[in-house]
Amino acid sequence: MRNLAPVALLLAACTGAVDYPSNLHDLRIVAMRSEPPEAVVGMSPQLPTFHLEALVLDPAGQGRALHYAFRACPFNNLRCEGGSGAIDLAQGDVVDNIAATDFSPSLDFIQAAQKNDPASILFGAYLMVSLKVTTDDGAELVSGKRVVLSLDRGSPMFKQATKLQLPSQTANKNPLEPVLLLGEKPDGTPVAGGDRPAVAVSPAPTFDVKDAQDREEYTVIKYDLTTLGPLLESFDYTWYTTKGHFTPFGSGGRVQGDPKDQPTKTTLDLQGEEPGDFDIYVVVRDGRGGETWIRRAGRLGQ
């Protein structure tokens, strides 16, 4: 339709993805988390240690070996490339879909990160951790995650630097693993199948996440050196499955302007799938670097 036609075509083209992000069918790094996700320093000379874990899945790999290498860098690059000061953390093999290591940044490393990011004094320094997963047959994946190192707002160092008189803050924590109701009723009524409940193609099974905790409150500092808060965390849920796919339009994310109204339900589309077992993963993010995940198993019946 004249010159409006391309717009319509463009919009129409946006609706037809084939390789759904929610479908796990080949080698994927699904999530990375740090324990803790954030460390607050300034009140004691002790430097923190972060324990890093990554969820690595390879459904079509038939048990092939997956090798990992962790790397950290004081600059903003997911692959820890193109800057100076990157350090190798650990190498090894993925066991039970998990790659893990500890990261204890040195003072020099922290200072380099602060130098690269002048705003880190107000908002915390983002320390990048990169994970490379390789296979013997040449496959390679790279993932990146930030851990946060904040300067305690109540510390003399912070007050001296900013002249702001603010109380100390609490470091962010990872969300607790929520309850994923797969066929069960919210009241916990069990369904047939035990740990691997059965679902059908139709009606499309709907899943629900039940939070296991209250969300944390936090306060942010604005560029004009005023504060905004307390703000309430919002959780984003990202859904994965090894059979079928979740609707690409049901993000499970928050609704703008209403932190309490968090859509937690989504629908699994199993049309065209063969009967059999499948796994579902839900990754929960708190929007401040905190992250966790939960796995449930299911079975598509005849």
Binding site: M1, R2, N3, L4, A5, P6, V7, A8, L9, L10, L11, A12, A13, C14, T15, A17, V18, D19, P21, I29, A31, M32, A54, L78, D117, P118, A119, L122, F123, V142, S143, G144, K145, R146, V148, T162, V220, K222, Y223, L225, L228, L231, S234, D236, T247, F249, G250, V255, Q256, G257, D258, P259, P263, T267, D269, V283, G287, R288, G289, E291
Partner: protein, 871 residues
Amino acid sequence: MAAAMLLALGLLVHPAPVSAYEGEVERRDKPPEPHVPVLTKPPQLLRFVEATYPEEAIKDGLTGEVVLQVDIAADGSVADAQVTGGAGHGFDEAALAAVKQFGFSPAEIDGAPAPVRIEYRYHFVLKEKPPEPEQPKPPPPVTFHGRIIERGSRTPIAGASVSCKERDEAAVTDADGAFELRAPAGPCTATVISYGHQTFTRLEQLEEGKVLEVTYHLMPTNFGLYSTVVRGEREKREAVVRSMEREELQKVPGSFGDPIRAIQNMPGVARMPYGAGFLLVRGALPQETGAYMDSVEIPLLFHLLGGPSVVNPEFLDKLDFFPGGFGPGYGRAIGGIVDAGTRRGTPTDYHGSFKIDFLDSAAFAEAAVSEKLSVAFAGRRSYIDLLLPHFLPNDPRTGAISVLPRYWDYQARLDYGQKGDKNVFTLMAFGSDDNLAVVASGGQRDREFALSSHTNFHRLRANWLWHDGAWSNLFAPYLGRDATDTTFGSGDAALGGNVIQPGGGLRDELAVELDGGSKIRLGADWALFQSQFNIMVPQLGEYRRFPGSDSNAPPEKVQRSVDDFDFGFYLTFEARLTPSLLLIPGLRLDQIRLGGHPKSATDPRLTVRWGVTEATTLKGAVGHYSQAPQAFYLDSQFGNPDLELNKAFQSSLGVEHKITPAISVDVTGFYNRRYDIAVATGKTVTGDDGLPHPLRYVNDGLGRAYGVELMLRHEITANFFGWLSYTLSRSEQRNRGGGDYQLSPYDQPHILTLVAQYKMGNGWEFGGRFRLVSGMPSTPIVGSTYDADRQGYSAIGGEVLSTREPTFHQLDLRVDKGWLFNDWKLGVYLDVQNVYNANNPEGYQWDYRYRTRSEIPGIPFLPTLGIKGSF
């Protein structure tokens, strides 16, 4: 009657032969002396008196020659004369009497006036007596009169020949197409012949004592849906201006009769992807090219989503497009200028038209209220919002995307005074409104995505054009209101807001023409607008959020009122140094106060045109240009109050050559450099207070573009018009301190456009447009990295802008068929885009891991049918 005297004529024309010793004039005045005097200046006959031819000789048919000896005094008078060779029959007396009345110039001997004697022969030759003039007979009474007008347009035909085949009677029509014949009673096969029209005949019966009154409608030999306006060529005062007339504007295939869209076929204009209506001119960004309507700045040229232009094509008189090097009369732009000129309503009679196609309907009407007062109106309204939903997918799994665009525009104009009057007044109102609502809903969505955008502008402009002799003045105040309202989401969670810009301006230009064709123009170009921002924004800009997260703070209401005052003054001197050399130095000064921040610009400009020959003109231009950044860029919270004006230096050099009266070629090279361009940094810097501050915008943007433009053009003739345009260019940009120049994302080295329209007769017209354009630069994606904080993949780009998208090529065709009726005409047009369905991807959509990509298709084979009528 009396005869002409051949000898006398000989004396007058050939004085040298007079001599004392030879020829027919002999000197016999003094005896020889030791000093031999020399005739240094012979006498010349200054006063000839015709002799009376003897009656007797006339009666007998006699002729004769009388030889006379004439004594000429020192003062040239005839002192005496005697007949030395008579002819009798009264000839001698008559000749003697006449010769004595002759007068001569004094003869000179040895350099001093002196009396001389000459011999003179008077010839009497009979002439035939002219017949007595007949007394004019009184003309017979008018028996047959009427008007000759063109079929369809009702335009009076002047200069047509009207005759009765059976009589020797003919008449020519006057400016109103009127004629009168005075043929006697009886049959009369009226025959009307006019250039450009088919010969018309009709048998009439003239009756004694009666007057037959008729109106004949002549069929044009070539006609179409649109009228041809033929005007004298405007004197060019710019190095490069692409001007198009009404018929060209409405007929360009692929432009769907949209005049301003036709600019996209001009040299120097790059192709905008997705059919968007922005103009990419000589490497400048879309917002750097100014849009004007009758020299009043307007915020947009096209309706939303690449829709038609905001001016009804019927209202458009002509379109001037300056790809660069424009004069000081235009400001606030560092790219090019588009100035759409509207036309006054018809000075006689009334006319109108309507157009209907799949997208919109439009109507136009014009009328002459009196000899000096004319009015014209136009309006258009789209209904694509009613049709488009039927073509968009509605999948139960993916849901539906509802795109509801709607636009309308209007123009109204009143003119008082005629061309040539001392004072001419114009009042014009025009405006445009665009509304777009996009809603994605249904399917498996757990929420609805909604976007709405509403943009409109209105202008009320008055013109007072005064001229008196060499002086003239244009006084043109205007009022305006622009508004934009954009909303994302719905309810309390909606983001966005509105920006309202009330204001006005004034343009006054005083001009005086000097002797020799030079001209001085002194002008003021003021614009005073207030931008009232009232928007809801997420508080993301005020603190740093963790990557991948939304703002958890409620949206913030931002209200601003920014005054934008721009007082521009300009002066040009069109110095006609020789008839073929025109030198135009000019200067524009702008004093700007933008949101309380004073800025100033001094922009000198120079244009030279030199007609090397009648057909060839060399031309060149250099100039400096300034443009203020958008008001919000200077906001203390969201922008940088220290931003300076964006600037550009433009230069061009070229040659125009008229190959034939209808065919011309124009080759122009250009080099433009843009600097101090406001660019976003995305950086945080440590301020003097030792604390971090976001550095949102700085004047670090640099750009340059250079190339050659070719325009081979065939002007509108009876059957054909068209042009070939080709641009070879390179457009680059970089940030100050940011390394070497890199290609601009819009760089298109080769742009070839071929446009042609042919009238085949009998109402059929056929046109085509072919475009061949280099693909734009792109950065290859060589992989991706998973960002666990965002739960998404980030693309890994290869070398920046190191590859190009595929070459774009497309053929569009247009067929018009018109039918003429006595008082109106009807036309149907078929406009087919991408006739051979070339695959022209406008972009690519990658999968979520950046492993595979799918094409975002360009315009496919797309026919559009429309109807147009006019009277």
